[in-house]
Amino acid sequence: MNRFVLLVNAFLLLFVMPGEAQVPKGSYGPVALVGATAHTITDGIIENCTIILRDGKIEAIGSNVSAPADVRVIDCKGLHVYPGFIDGGTRLGLTEIGSEPRTLDYNEVGNVVPQMRALTAVNPNSALIPVTRVNGVTTVLAAPSGGMLSGTAALINLHGYTPDQMYAGFEGVVLTFPSTSREGPNDKRKPEEISKAAAKAMKKLNEVWQKAIEYNKLDSALGDNKPDYYPELIALQPVIQGTMPLIIEVNGAGDILSALEWVREKEIARVILSGVREGWRVAGKIAEAGIPVITGKVLTLPDRAYDRYDRAYANPGLMRKAGVTVALRTNEAYNVRNLPYNAGVAAAHGLGKEEALRAITIVPAQIFGVADRLGSLETGKDATLFVCDGDPLEPATNIKYLFIKGWDIPLVSRQTLLYDEFLHREPGLQTHD
């Protein structure tokens, strides 16, 4: 073995050292992806396509584009390129270990705390992030939850060393709409108790909203003489003024209708419905209201014992058919990596493959107002995309290259490192006398 090989081996060992907490870093520089089948989402499929990535952007894309001399060329013959997938609702970055409260940062004390900003608490070094992105999910909404107005969610790219580096250009206040549904398997409340709690929550919400409207009037009337410090009301001002959307988490059919009515009554300019598990029951009404929906997860049970077994699978397709704008989410943290499979199951149950792909790319990008940067393969957009060897919604497909804002991200996570270390463990079996 020559000295060079030894050196290379020593270098590689650095990456697979047991106990190594982090994965190898990304690299940056102009790249040409040559000969790929490009699934642009917004402009069809381009065969034998060349895509030039430079300065974090897609510089050029097309079958007539040729690679400049100064770029690294990656041969993508037989491979496919897709824009990075976007999950419209997760707790990624805000949680590490489910049962350990000290690692959970998505659920602040208080029922009305919209001033709690997810971006503040996103942990760029979470072990969950590389696990997620190596499956092609590049961008997620990190959302607080728990209370009624539980905080302000943030769209993040799954690469960066500070929350600001990860920030993908969208924030929205999360409202969990007062629910008349059961909250979980252990919610043994009587129906009357549930209705009563919901009515009480509704009253509280209306009070808060009225205050926020009055604060807005006061704020603009007083000019430079700012009113007293009311952090929760200040946090709601962009929503009242229509510069930031309100993300309304709502799931039961009756609750969805109540939410639509409430939005109309309060004349809230920008609204996104989130969850919407029973959207299929009232899909026409949602379409009529023209409010976009982020629904999921898809791979889950129906809400009611008498509902068809596959309602959750079919829900996105049924809503889309009724004319609703539908994006998908996993509503998870640990397995946000399964977003493509949620999309695939929705595709097979009525959404169709093309719409399913749109629901995890361009549609969420449009809903979040970042379609100028994300959600499709177009000149001038962020170089946030991946190269794979087949249909990315199929589990058998493998991702070959992944770029986030032009950074070439190694396809390594703690889970792949454990595979490398333990497939053929050394030392192997040792027997003692």
């Binding site: 590490e96 270990i97 489910g98 049962s99 350990e100 072990a127 969950l128 549904s181 059961r182 979980g184 398997p185 252990n186 919610d187 129906p191 549930i194 799931n251 039961g252 059919a253 009756g254 969850g275 598990r277 791979l299 889950t300 049970l301 129906p302 809400d303 009611r304 014992a305 008498y306 509902d307 068809r308 077994y309 596959d310 509503n331 998870e332 640990y334 397995n335 990596r337 399964n338 493509p340 499979y341 199951v345 595709a347 097979a348 149950h349 919604l393 199929e394 589990p395 058998a396 497909t397 703690r414 889970q415 792949t416 454990l418 595979y419 333990f422 497939l423 463990r425 192997g428 079996l429």
Partner: protein
């Protein structure tokens, strides 16, 4: 009055033995021209499969349908053995008897609920056989039931997989130490305590077994006048484990506790060991293979608690490549409906072949439950348990269209109505929706923090 009483006695005498030996319904069906994924004999294109009286009697081309036999045209469809889930908690009225870290005397067959809609929903995911287990609150929990998803029967006994070996739940790590150590301030509070609790119980059982063996030997001798030892259901169950008559299904996550339970089993001569979950099984795969234990794992669940933080979705592949017989289970009424999808993830995570991936949810769990002579593959002589899919079952676009148990169609996507409840709860409001099961919620104990709080509140 007296006459009436006699009538009751006669009625009981007539009906009771019938109920005790209830024979499940069986049927005849010819599945024509499908792509058969046999699991043990590769893929057979354009092939027929005949089921008569609940058993597969022929596999081949151009089979003729016996008179009156239902014929299903499977042209363009995929036909595979009914899926088997080695770890579930559906169809149970209760899951955890938490009053003691040792409850081997508890039997899940006493808590079976044939009305559970989860049974039908599992059928709608191609599942035909499951093991439904006691929870993981106790170091030694209750005895499990292997059952066939004969949804439609009102008789719990008819669900039971006749002749399946007995199984019992053991549990290591965070769950028993949380429930008993943290919750009840008693041993075990640590993994040291878990080992001690199991060892001392098995030691007591060994003494008990010895007393009975001695008695059984002595009583045959002429002039023996001694009394039998006192019968103890708990110790008798443990003694049955020592005799090799009960398979140990041990809920375990971390590498060290997996090694521990194998040492304990070795010391007590216990050979039938299936490691349930075994999220860190991949770290001690050579040791598991050397012991001859098997593993039933999640496809990719992790990080919902600390003992699963250093997991990898490559677990099933690493175990398989190291020679450990492995299955993928659900432990969840939602996931049980797409075990075929869970298995397909091993194509990506570790590059298993399609046959290997299918084995994870068919023949391998059958072996772990000791029922592979009856189910787990499409072979002549085996039970007529079949799942039919539109699209390859390992494709994300697949849709299960029909599930057959003992030759009887129990799920038919085209014909079944939306509402498949057998029992309608009169208290249930028709206009109220339910809930989403929180991420990482496993029926074993409820691992989401919220559920933990509620768990302890109830104590």
């Amino acid at each position: 009055m007296k006459v009436l009483r006699w009538q009751i006695v006669i009625a009981l005498l007539v009906t009771f033995p019938m109920a005790a030996t209830a024979q499940p319904d069986v049927g005849d069906v010819l599945i024509r021209n499908g792509t058969l994924l046999t699991v043990t004999n590769g893929t057979l294109e354009n092939t027929d499969l005949l089921i008569r009286k609940g058993k597969i009697t022929a596999i081949g081309k151009n089979l003729t349908a016996p008179e009156g036999c239902r014929v299903i045209d499977a042209t363009g469809l995929f036909v595979m053995p009914g899926i088997i889930d080695a770890h579930s908690h559906i169809a149970l009225e209760a899951i955890n008897e938490m009053s003691s870290p040792l409850t081997p005397e508890v039997r899940m067959r006493d808590a079976l609920n044939p009305l559970d809609i989860s049974i039908y929903r599992a059928l709608a995911g191609g599942v035909t056989t499951i093991q439904t287990l006691h929870g993981s609150a106790n170091a030694i929990g209750g005895q499990s039931v292997v059952m066939k998803l004969r949804y439609g029967t009102l008789n719990p006994t008819e669900l039971i997989f006749e002749g399946a070996p007995r199984g019992i739940k053991f549990a290591l790590g965070e769950n028993p130490t949380r429930v008993h150590g943290a919750g009840h301030n008693m041993v075990p509070r640590t993994r040291m305590g878990v080992e001690f609790v199991i060892r001392s119980a098995l030691t007591e059982a060994r003494e008990y077994q010895k007393k009975w063996d001695e008695y059984n030997e002595q009583k045959m001798k002429r002039g023996f006048r001694g009394a039998p030892p006192e019968y103890d259901d708990r110790l008798e169950t443990l003694a049955e484990i020592l005799r090799g008559n009960i398979i140990v299904h041990c809920h375990s996550y971390r590498a060290d506790e997996i090694v521990m339970i194998m040492k304990v089993c070795r010391d007590f001569g216990i050979k039938k060991l299936v490691l349930q979950h075994a999220n860190e099984g991949f770290k001690v795969a050579p040791e598991i293979a050397a012991f001859g234990a098997m593993a039933s794992v999640f496809s990719d669940a992790w990080a919902y608690k600390f003992e699963v933080y250093y997991s990898t979705a490559y677990n099933a592949a690493i175990l398989t490549r190291n020679g450990v017989l492995t299955s993928i289970n659900s432990d969840d009424p939602g996931v049980i409906r797409h075990l075929y999808h869970e298995a397909s993830k091993t194509l990506k995570y570790g590059g298993l072949s399609r046959d290997e991936a299918l084995a994870l949810i068919t023949i391998n769990p059958a072996k772990q439950l000791g029922i592979d002579n009856r189910v787990g593959s499409l072979e002549v002589g085996k039970d007529g348990d079949v799942a039919i899919f539109r699209g390859h079952p390992l494709s994300i676009y697949t849709v299960p269209v029909m599930t057959i148990v003992d030759g009887i169609v129990r799920f038919d996507r085209e014909k079944d109505p939306d509402d498949m409840r057998i029992y309608v709860d009169p208290e249930e409001r028709f206009d109220q929706s339910g809930f989403e099961v929180p991420e990482g919620y496993h029926d074993c104990l409820g691992t989401a923090t919220e559920t933990f709080h509620q768990l302890f509140e109830s104590h």
